[in-house]
Symmetry: C2
Subunit: 233 residues, 2 copies
């Protein structure tokens, strides 16, 4: 199968890349610079595709960031909220319609390459706050992408029913070098350990029962307290 992978350099999409490679797919990797504060993830993406020898394109979409000012991921004057994704304040991290933009550009390349699919790593934990990670949204996009050209491309979402901890388990079996993946929204030299995506990352390793090799700047708040509150343990 020939596939275009939307590849952020994060834990989920890196595991997806390794899993597709293990299954001998013909992979083309696509990363998007949309002016994200944590553009360090793109460096991680480039290092990974270079290491694996996968064709890669980086698209500059910084100009699009002028259209929205309410997301802390693109507006540097807003702070990145700390805490668990389930909290209301995490909505600040939503970039309006980001996934449709990424998918539409991936579809453009996939059509040009006459690829069979676009692969992306949306998982079941994403859609709590991100409306464009919901299965009904991705189903609608799948249909639109199949109709976008005479050459029909399908959307491949192998992680859509998995929790992030399942992805960690899978990545571990595939020997994904997790310390070579990036999650933190703050985008400093080290993962902060406190923002929504750091908490989610720490939680995933904890629930998977796998040692987290990530070096965090700090480990407050205490993860076990957060998890107990969330799961009512």
């Amino acid at each position: 199968m020939k596939t275009v992978v939307i590849f952020s350099g994060g834990l989920d999409s890196t595991t997806l890349l390794y899993s597709l490679k293990a299954d001998n797919h013909e992979i083309y990797s696509l990363s998007i610079d949309y002016g994200q504060r944590h553009s360090i993830e793109l460096q991680y993406a480039e290092n990974t595709v270079r290491r694996l020898g996968i064709p890669h394109r980086m698209i500059n979409l910084k100009s699009v960031a002028q259209l929205f000012h309410d997301s802390c991921l693109t507006n540097q004057s807003l702070g990145v909220p700390e805490g668990h994704y389930e909290e209301e304040k995490m909505r600040l991290t939503v970039v309006p319609n980001r996934n449709m933009i990424l998918l539409s550009i991936a579809a453009s390349w996939a059509i040009s390459l006459k690829a069979d699919t676009i692969s992306y790593a949306a998982h079941s934990g994403d859609h709590a706050i991100y409306p464009d990670c919901r299965p009904e949204f991705t189903d609608a996009m799948d249909r639109a992408i199949q109709l976008a050209d005479w050459h029909s491309v399908k959307l491949f979402r192998p992680f859509i029913d998995l929790a992030k901890s399942d992805i960690v388990k899978m990545g571990s079996k595939l020997s994904v070098p997790f310390d070579q993946t990036w999650s933190c929204y703050k985008g400093n030299d080290l993962h902060c350990g406190c923002c929504g995506t750091c908490i989610e990352r720490r939680e995933a390793f904890y629930l998977a029962g796998i040692t987290d090799p990530t070096e965090y700047a700090e480990l407050a708040p205490d993860l076990t307290v957060l998890i107990k509150n969330k799961w009512k343990i």
Copy 2:
């Protein structure tokens, strides 16, 4: 109604802009520089919104053009085919998945603005060669856009059942200054008169029975012969 209009500076989207203005919509205009050979259309777009006092954003998507090499609209080494749109060679003018990319960026802005709709000027003549102008594609995109955020935006396609000649008739009633709109794919100082979109433009005025104010570089091939062949007159 608050609406984001995808505005190329061409005849169709300029008529759409005038029609929305006549109906007192709150309009936000969006133009995209995707590295098109005929970037002169973007100058026409800017002049029109300045004249009408409409808020306008121009998005730079030139980086996306690296993903496709088979379209003569973005690959300067390919020639622009001359003749009627219905001919096979016109497929060279297809930019893969262009409309999904435009719509996804418009949706991003519309969500940020809490707009009601995205307006765009796809018409019944478009879908003969452009798969992403077909009603089934735009229906699928309408659904995806509505699901992309908690704030739901609809797709408004008032021209979807109109021929281009109907748009010319409507524009004429609205006093659209057609000579301030741009169609030609070649993007020289004057409309060439011979490429697919020039032929379509000339044909639309002819069929509408309205004088075409456009200055063309040349008027070969003879329009009446082409039209007779097409309509078997």
